[in-house]
Structures are given as C-alpha cells and as structure tokens.
Amino acid sequence: MALTIDQPIEHKQQSLPARLFASQTFWVVIAVILACLFLSFATDAFATSKNLYNITRNITFVAIIALGMTFVIITGGIDLSVGSVLCLSSMILAVTMHAGYSIEVGILASIATALAIGAFNGILIAYLGFPPFVVTLGMLSIARSLAMVASNNTVVFQFGPDHAKLLALGGGAWVFGIANPVLYMILLALITGFVLRWTKFGRHIFAIGGNEHAATLTGVPVRQIKVAVYMISALSAGIAGIIQTGWLGAVTTNLGTGMELQVIAATVIGGANLAGGVGTAFGAIVGAALIEVIRNSLGLLGINAFWQGVFIGGAILLAVLFDRIRNFRRSD
C-alpha cells in the first residue's frame, strides 16, 4: 500500500530535459548564448570588457521593471504606466535633492511616490473594477505630466549636497568591477524568484492569474493581492528610476518614454503569458537580455539603427510562436 501511495506522490510530470525543452525561457537563453557566441567571432568589439559592461548595465533598467511587471502579468493584468512612473520617481528624487535634502530623503520621497501611484492603480483596478489597461494608460499620461509639473519641464543635473553619493550609487562598480545596477538587478531577481516560488503570496498570484473566480471562492484575498502587485510594479519602476538617475547624472521629462513596451516585450519573450498564470523572474531577465543583445549587435554589425524595431518585434513574435507550437503539439 505504501508503494502505491508513494509512487504517484513522487511522480513528476516530465523528466528534467523534457521540461527544459518545453520551456520558452530555455530557448531564449539558447538564443542569447548563440547570439553572443556569433557576435564574439563576427566582431572584434563585442567581447571586450567595456562592451560587456555596457550591455549588462543597459539590460538592468528594463530587467528590474520587468521583474515587477512579471507579478502584474502573472495575475493577468498589465501596467502601462511604468515608463512614466520611472520618470516621475527620478524627477521627485532629483527635485528633492536639488532643493538641498539628503539622498536618503530623496530616495524615500521617490519610493513613496511610486508606491502611492501603484496603490492608486491597484485600488481602481481591484476595488472599482476598472480594466487594468485603461487605468494604467491614464496613469501613463498623468505621471509624466506630474513629472513636468514637478520640474517645470527643465533638465535637473545638480543634486545638492549628496550629488556625488547619488552618482556613485548608480554609476559605480563596487564589487569585482560589475556595474552597480547589475548587482541591484541580481538581488531583486533573487527576491522575486523566491517570492514567486516559496511564499503564499506568490502562490496566490498564480492562482489569480489561473482562475480569479476560483481564487475568490477558496478564500484568497484577491483584491488586496491585486493592489499589492500594482504597487510592486510601480516600486520596481521607482527603483529603476533612482538607479538610472544616478547613472545618467541628469533627469529630463522624457526619461523612460516608451519603456513600458520594452518591459512588456522582455516579460513576454521571457515566457510570461499575457493571459495570466505563467511567468518567472529568470524569464524576465533573459527576455531583457535578448532585447539588449539584439540592439547591441545591430550597432556592432553596422546595420542601420532604423531596423532595430523590426528585429525586436520579430523576437516577440517568434517567442510567442514557439509557445503556440508547443500548445498545438500538446493538444494533439
């Protein structure tokens, strides 16, 4: 009897290689590695430490927000406001520090702004039943406008007494010459991965994306969790904004324009499903990496920059195509 109980318990769905081959993230990783290998041989400039430093750092801003977006997309929602929230958080940080406050106050104000916007989005979506697309589209407009109001539409590049600290935070490389933003990204990815796999909160996020009605019936606090995921998404945009401010050393009101689409693209390429219920932290990072490698390679291979959109768009469609093919095969 013990045998018959243990067998089904130990039974895994598929063996490890089979699961790997069935995973979109795996194929995207392969694509990134192949692209990197190809570029290392095809160009002299790719495999230089300076270029790799640039690539890894460029990945981070999209990747950090993609981590936050992953939470939202797993619940079946979407957050179009992240690019504008990034801009507003950067601007609040810049304006606060420019006015003579310390970096701690600046970061606090900036994070608080992001969380407040996330909470506003989440409450409209979860409690008043607004469609996420519409709420965050509205916020896309509102947040950027507020950034213009906060700065009077000027460029801020002097950050008061803690100017040097802020630049070191975003532009430095404190450990083994790895750019600081990359370290933040790795840390945040580990936290995201942990939360999604090992916490009750993470489990409930997947449940909401899988069947929201079922989650409600089984006592999952659906509304609170929805508010929380939009706050996480806005928070990730705020964190990316702070880091990017330190790296750029200046904030303009067009910072992060169109970034929401890159972030969503990275999340989807990495294997998240816009219909909800599927997504991983690692996938978000890998998706962001593929986009950046494509961009970088076009430059190095001397292909006209106007073609960038075609290649990135193609990568999105290709990623989803693989997903469709797998589903067709499964339903047979």
Binding site: G209, G210, N211, T218
Partner: protein, 246 residues
C-alpha cells in the same frame, strides 16, 4: 442526532419568494439528493447553508447548536464544505496546490515562513489514495480528466474535518465513465461519516448513490423520502408538478 437541521427556512428577494418555509434534517453519513427544476429554490437553499445568503426567516442548527453564517468562511469553519459547479480549480497549478488553495501549509519561524511543498504533496497524495483516485499531486490540473478534476475539488473538502459536503451538479458536464468515478468519490465521503448533499438534475445519479431524496418546487419542499420508497417516475412527477405533494 441530525448533523444539520433547518427549521422553517424562508428566503425572499424583494417580492420574490425563492425559498418558502422549508424544514429538513440531514443525518451523519447520509447522501441526500436535492432535486428540482430550474428556479425551484434549491440553489438558494444551498447558498444559505453555504453562508452566501442569510435566511429571511427560520433557523439552522448544527449538532444541536444554532448556526448563524455571515459569510462563506464561517460555513467552512463549521465544517460545511462546497464543491462548486465549475469546481473552482486553477488550471495552471498542480493538483496539490489546488487542494491547498487558500489554506497553504507553511514551515519556518515567525515571519520567515515558506511553502511546505513536501507535506502538501504527501497529504494531497494521501487524500487521493483515500478517494481511490488515480490523481497525482504533482500533475497540473489542465492535463486532467473530468473525473480527476472532481477528485481534486472533493479532496479539498477533506482537508479540514468536514461534516457536510454540498455538491452542486457534480456530474453535469462529464463523460459517462467519469460519472461513475464521481459517484464512487461520493460513496467514499459517506463511508467516512461525512454527509453529502447532492444537487443534481440527473435522476440515475441520485437513485444510484443517495439514501434520501428531497424534491423542491416553487420554493417549497414537496417530497422528502427514502430512495427505497420512491421511484424516478414519482420524482419526475414531483419536479414537474404532475404530482402535487407526497
């Protein structure tokens, strides 16, 4: 003693009398078929037992104590579990995750607590074994047959010490072979002393598995008798109104 006793329960929505002066009692380990046409009031009655609605009149008693339910969670706390018609399963999660949905087990200290996958897989596996179901705890629900999905939804009701399981049309949308599987699951619940209220349109199911049948028409209870003393023809007559009352 009856595990659940309803006395003169009524429910109206404005001028509409959905349930009218219904009294019934359910004994431990009994399977009761609740039948009636659409709009007969059976789902309103069930929703009152499940804590979704409060009765306009009448009282409910559980094990002799008065039962007042403000929300579905209260019903669950009293050992009343529901298998919803659509089963309320998440396709993207494993069988074990669905069984424990909303009641996940965790291990660790204080605020540092993580999901206890091992225990949840093991316990879910035991529940499926008790139900004599072939469902495997690690399988995703989206790859399961209708019978296995029913087993997952029913295993969920066995997590806590359920006294009554309300099943809303469990055999409405599955194949003939799977119906037999579900009826077996119901028998296993009964064998463990759990009372089952089976809401169904399907005459053969009720007559195969139930001990008693209650028929409702237009908000009133028109029959409440043992299966042995009734017949499908009589129940059909009662449902349609060809037979007024017995």
């Amino acid at each position: 003693m009856a595990v659940l006793e309803l006395t003169n329960i009524s429910k109206h929505f404005g001028a509409i009398q959905a349930v009218n002066d219904v009294s019934l009692s359910i004994e431990p380990g009994q399977v009761v078929g609740l039948m009636g046409d659409n709009g007969a009031g059976k789902s309103t009655l069930v929703k009152m037992i499940a804590g979704n609605f409060r009765p306009s009149h009448g009282t409910m008693h559980m094990d002799g104590k008065e039962l007042i339910l403000h929300k579905p969670a209260d019903a669950r706390q009293h050992g009343i579990e529901i298998v919803h018609q659509d089963l309320a399963l998440c396709n993207n999660l494993t069988a074990a995750a669905n069984v424990y949905l909303g009641r996940e087990l965790r291990r660790g200290v204080g605020p540092f607590r993580i999901l206890d996958y091992a225990t949840m897989y093991r316990r879910a596996g035991q529940l499926f074994a008790e139900l004599k179901s072939e469902t495997r705890p690690r399988d995703l629900v989206k790859q399961m047959s209708g019978g296995q999905r029913q087993a997952v939804a029913i295993a969920r009701t066995m997590l806590s010490q359920a006294k009554i399981v309300l099943m809303d049309e469990p055999t409405a949308a599955i194949s003939v072979r799977q119906v037999a599987e579900v009826l077996n699951l119901i028998r296993h619940l009964r064998d463990q002393g759990i009372s089952v209220v089976l809401i169904s349109h399907r005459m053969p199911d009720v007559f195969t598995v139930a001990d008693r049948v209650i028929v409702m028409r237009r908000g009133r209870k028109v029959a409440d008798k043992t299966i042995a003393s009734s017949s499908p023809e009589e129940v059909t007559g009662l449902i349609t109104g060809a037979i007024e009352q017995v």
